[in-house]
C-alpha cells in the first residue's frame, strides 16, 4: 500500500526500472561504443536498440519528441566530419579546408551511427528518470551519503527559481538607471547579484531542512523503497549484451578501430 501511495511517473516498461540501473546501462553502452570509431559496431548496437525500444513503454510521439535533439545532432556531427574529417583515399571535392574523401565519408557514416547509438538509449533511459527516484536509488542502492544526495536533490528545485530571479534582476537594474552601461559589465554585475540571491536562498533552504531533522545523528529511514531486482539486473545485462555483440561483430568483420590505437 505504501509503495503505490508514492507517485511514480508510470509503471510500464522502462518506467519501472530503478534509475540506478538505467544510469549503469547507459554508461556501460556508451563506455563500449566510445572505444572504437567504426560503423559496424555502431550499426549493430543501433539495430539492437531500435528493437529494444519497442519494449521501453514510451509512445512513439514521446520517443520522437524527446529524442529529437539526437536526431538533429547526429547529422550535424556527421556533416562536420564529412567536410573536415581526416582525409584518406580518393578525394571527391575540395574547397579551402574542406576535403571530402573516402576516409571522411567513412568517418561521417560512423559518426552518424555512433551518435544515434549512444544518444538514443541515453535519452530513452534518462527522460524516464525522476530526480527523486534517482536520489532514492543513489542513497539506498549505491549507498552514497544521504547528506550529499538529498542536499543535491533539494538544491535542484532552486534551479527553477533562477530564471525568474534573473528576469527580476534585469528589470530592477533598468529601474535603477544602470541598464544602459556596457553589456559585459552589466551582465557580470547581474550574474554576481544572482549568485548572492542563490546563496541566500540556499542557506534558507538549509535551515528549513535542518529544522526538519536533516543531518541529525540518527540512522535515516527511507519512505520510498528503492529496489534492485531481476528487472534491473536484466536491463544492465541487456546493455552488456548489446555492447558485447557490437564488439564481437566489429572485431570479426575486421572493422574494429580502437580510438587510442
Amino acid at each position: 500500500m505504501t509503495q503505490t501511495a508514492t507517485a511514480t511517473p508510470g509503471n510500464r516498461g522502462i518506467l519501472r526500472v530503478n534509475p540506478v540501473a538505467k544510469l549503469a546501462a547507459a554508461l556501460l553502452l556508451a563506455g563500449v561504443l566510445v572505444l572504437t570509431i567504426d560503423w559496424v559496431s555502431a550499426l549493430v548496437a543501433l539495430a539492437c536498440e531500435l528493437v529494444l525500444f519497442f519494449w521501453a513503454g514510451l509512445s512513439p510521439r514521446t520517443f520522437f519528441l524527446r529524442t529529437l535533439p539526437v536526431w538533429l545532432a547526429a547529422p550535424a556531427a556527421a556533416l562536420t566530419t564529412l567536410l573536415y574529417g581526416q582525409s584518406a583515399g580518393a578525394e571527391y571535392w575540395q574547397f579551402g579546408l574542406i576535403h571530402i574523401t573516402d576516409g571522411s565519408i567513412d568517418l561521417a557514416v560512423a559518426t552518424l551511427l555512433r551518435v544515434l547509438a549512444i544518444g538514443l538509449p541515453s535519452v530513452v533511459l534518462f527522460v524516464t528518470v525522476d530526480p527523486t527516484d534517482l536520489a532514492d536509488g543513489l542513497g539506498q542502492v549505491v549507498r552514497l551519503p544521504a547528506r550529499f544526495v538529498l542536499g543535491g536533490l533539494a538544491g535542484l528545485r532552486l534551479i527553477g527559481l533562477l530564471l525568474e530571479d534573473w528576469r527580476a534582476l534585469e528589470r530592477a537594474r533598468r529601474a535603477r538607471g544602470i541598464a544602459d552601461r556596457g553589456v559585459i559589465r552589466r551582465l557580470a554585475g547581474q550574474a554576481f547579484a544572482l549568485l548572492v540571491l542563490s546563496i541566500r536562498r540556499g542557506s534558507k533552504l538549509a535551515t528549513a531542512m535542518e529544522a526538519r531533522g536533516f543531518g541529525a545523528p540518527i540512522a535515516r529511514s527511507w519512505a520510498r523503497p528503492s529496489t534492485f531486482g531481476a528487472r534491473e539486473v536484466a536491463l544492465i545485462g541487456l546493455g552488456l549484451f548489446v555492447g558485447a555483440l557490437a564488439v564481437t561483430v566489429s572485431v570479426a568483420t575486421g572493422s574494429w578501430n580502437f580510438v587510442l590505437g
Binding site: T2, R174, S221
Partner: protein
C-alpha cells in the same frame, strides 16, 4: 486504517526554560537577546511579541536548534527544551518559518511531508500513515504525487506545517508564518493551525506582529524587551490592555488601537500616464489581462487591487516601463516624457530615473551596492549629478527614512522594515514624477507601515503620482484616490475603475 487526525497526535507538550539566556550573532556588537528568564509550561499557547530587533526570531531559532554552532554566535546562560539542550531535542521541536518558497524541500507533496520522518528514522509504514494524517489535519486535500511547485503561498505554508506535524513535535514554533501571504492565504493558514491545536497537546509559540490573527488561539502573551529580558507577560487580554499603546507605538498591530492617518489635500492635477488598448503579459505568450484603461494622475494615488495571480504586478511593471505590453501601448503625456518619447518601455534606463521610479516587492532584487549610502547614491550618480548635490540628497534621505545609523551597513544585512525603507529611498533619490510600488506594506510591522503611508501621503500632496499594487485594504483606504480592480479571466473586460 485509522481515521486521519486521530489520537496518534497526542504527544505530550514540551516545556521551555530560559535562565539568563542570551545570543549574540557572530560579528555583531549588540546582543540579539540577553538576560532572558522564562518558563513555558507544557501545552501552553504563547504569542511572542516585541519590536523588530527584539530577538523574537533568534529565540525561536534557538529553540529549534538551528541557530548554528559556536562559530556562528556567542551564547550566555541556559536554554532548555524539556530539560535538554535544543540540539538534543531535535525532532521534538517543529519550526514553521516565514518564506513559503524556501520551505518546500522535495518535488512531490507526499515526499515533502515524509522528509522529516525519514530524517528521524521513522519506519516506512508509520511514515506514510503520519503523512496522510498530517495532510488531513492542515486540510491539504491533494494527491501525494501532486507537484509542490504548483502550490499557492498559503498551500505551501500548510504543506510545511504538515511536514512539521508529521515529526510529532512536542513544541510547535511558528515564525511569522503568514507575513508573506495575501489575506486569503493568511486565513487558510490560521484555520489550519486552529484545527491542529484542537488535536494536539504540543506547546505552541507563534511570533507575529498582527496580533488579531492569533489572539483567539493563544492563552499567553510574552513581550520581549529589546534592551534584554521580558517586557510584559500574562493573559492576552491583560497584556494587550496594559501594554497595547506601547506595543502599538513599537510596531505591533494591536486590534482596537486607533491611529491617526495622515490628512491629504486630494488635488489631482493632470494626467501623466495613460493606456491605449493595453494588454499585459508576464512572458511573451501568456496574456493575463487585456483592454486595460487606466490613467495615472499627478498628485493622486491609484491602487491596483484584485485576487492573486490576475496580473497586478504585471500591470504595475508594464505601466512603469519595465515590461513590454502584449498589445496596445502605455503612453506618457509630454509633461512626464519631457522629450523622451511617448512610450516608457522605449526609454533608456537612465531616462526612467527622473520620470518613473519603481519599488519592487522584494527589496533584495533592487539592491546593487555594498553600503546603504552607496545604494542611495546609485540613481543620482547615473544621472550625472554633481557630487555635492548627491551627498545632500543622500543625507536628507538617510535622515528622513531613519536609516542614518546604518549608512555604512550592507543593504542585505538590514531588517525587513529597514530594507523596505531603503528601497523606497533609492527611488526617491532621483525624484521621479511617477512612483510605482508593488506591495509596499507586505510583511511590514505597524511602525514601518505608518511611516510608509505618511511618506507617500506627503509625496502625493507635493504632486507625485503614486501607483501601488496592494492586498492591504487599510493601506488602500488610507491613500488611494482611485482603485483599479483587476478580475480573473480574459473573456470580459479585465479591470474596472472604482472611484473612492
Amino acid at each position: 486504517m485509522t481515521s486521519p487526525a486521530a489520537s496518534h497526535l497526542r504527544v505530550a507538550g514540551a516545556s521551555i526554560d530560559a535562565s539568563g539566556w542570551g545570543w549574540r550573532h557572530a560579528g555583531r556588537r549588540a546582543w540579539a537577546v540577553r538576560d532572558l528568564d522564562l518558563r513555558i509550561e507544557p501545552g501552553e499557547r504563547v504569542l511572542l511579541l516585541g519590536t523588530s530587533g527584539a530577538g523574537k526570531s533568534t529565540l525561536v531559532h534557538a529553540l529549534a536548534g538551528v541557530l548554528g554552532a559556536a562559530d556562528e554566535g556567542e551564547e550566555q546562560g541556559r536554554l532548555l527544551v524539556n530539560g535538554t539542550t535544543p540540539a538534543d531535542a531535535r525532532g521534538q521541536v517543529g519550526l514553521l518559518m516565514q518564506d513559503p518558497d524556501s520551505q518546500v524541500i522535495l518535488a512531490r507533496v507526499g515526499d515533502d511531508v515524509a522528509f522529516g520522518c525519514e530524517n528521524l528514522g521513522v519506519p516506512r509504514d508509520e511514515t506514510w500513515r503520519r503523512v496522510r494524517e498530517s495532510l488531513a489535519m492542515v486540510g491539504l486535500d491533494l494527491p501525494l504525487g501532486h507537484p509542490t511547485s504548483a502550490l499557492s503561498g498559503g498551500q505551501k505554508q500548510r504543506l510545511a506545517l504538515a511536514g512539521v506535524l508529521a515529526m510529532r513535535p512536542g513544541l510547535l514554533l511558528l515564525d511569522e508564518p503568514t507575513a508573506n501571504l495575501d489575506p486569503a492565504g493568511v486565513l487558510e493558514v490560521r484555520e489550519s493551525v486552529a484545527r491542529v491545536l484542537e488535536h494536539t497537546e504540543a506547546t505552541f509559540v507563534v511570533i507575529e506582529h498582527r496580533v488579531g490573527v492569533w489572539q483567539q488561539l493563544v492563552n499567553r502573551v510574552i513581550v520581549l524587551d529589546p534592551a534584554g529580558g521580558v517586557l510584559a507577560d500574562g493573559r492576552p487580554a491583560d497584556v494587550l490592555s496594559a501594554e497595547g499603546e506601547r506595543l502599538s507605538t513599537s510596531g505591533v498591530w494591536v486590534p482596537g488601537i486607533r491611529h491617526q492617518l495622515p490628512s491629504r489635500h486630494r488635488s489631482a492635477s493632470g494626467r501623466l500616464l495613460g493606456t491605449e488598448e493595453l494588454a499585459i503579459a508576464r512572458s511573451r505568450e501568456l496574456v493575463v489581462a487585456r483592454d486595460i484603461e487606466v490613467e495615472v494622475l499627478a498628485g493622486a494615488a491609484l491602487a491596483i487591487t484584485g485576487p492573486n495571480g490576475v496580473g497586478k504586478s504585471t500591470l504595475a511593471l508594464t505601466l512603469a516601463g519595465l515590461l513590454k505590453p502584449a498589445a496596445g501601448r502605455v503612453l506618457a503625456d509630454p509633461r512626464l516624457a519631457a522629450g523622451a518619447g511617448g512610450e516608457p518601455i522605449r526609454w533608456k534606463s537612465r531616462q526612467l530615473l527622473t520620470r518613473i521610479g519603481t519599488v519592487f516587492q522584494d527589496p533584495e532584487h533592487q539592491f546593487v551596492a555594498g553600503t546603504v549610502r552607496a545604494e542611495l547614491a546609485v540613481g543620482p550618480r547615473a544621472l550625472g549629478l554633481p557630487e555635492p548635490v548627491i551627498t545632500a540628497r543622500v543625507d536628507t534621505l538617510l535622515q528622513r527614512l531613519r536609516i542614518d545609523h546604518l549608512a555604512q551597513a550592507n543593504p542585505f544585512t538590514l531588517s525587513g522594515g529597514e530594507k523596505r525603507r531603503l528601497s523606497v529611498g533609492t527611488v526617491l533619490a532621483t525624484q521621479p514624477g511617477v512612483l510605482v510600488l508593488d506591495e509596499p506594506t507586505f510583511g511590514q510591522d505597524f511602525r514601518t507601515w505608518r511611516e510608509i503611508v505618511a511618506l507617500l501621503a506627503e509625496l502625493i500632496d507635493e504632486g507625485t503620482a503614486v501607483v501601488a499594487v496592494s492586498h492591504d485594504a487599510e493601506f488602500v483606504a488610507a491613500l488611494a484616490d482611485r482603485e483599479y480592480r483587476l478580475a480573473a479571466g480574459l473573456d470580459h473586460r479585465s479591470g474596472s475603475l472604482v472611484t473612492r
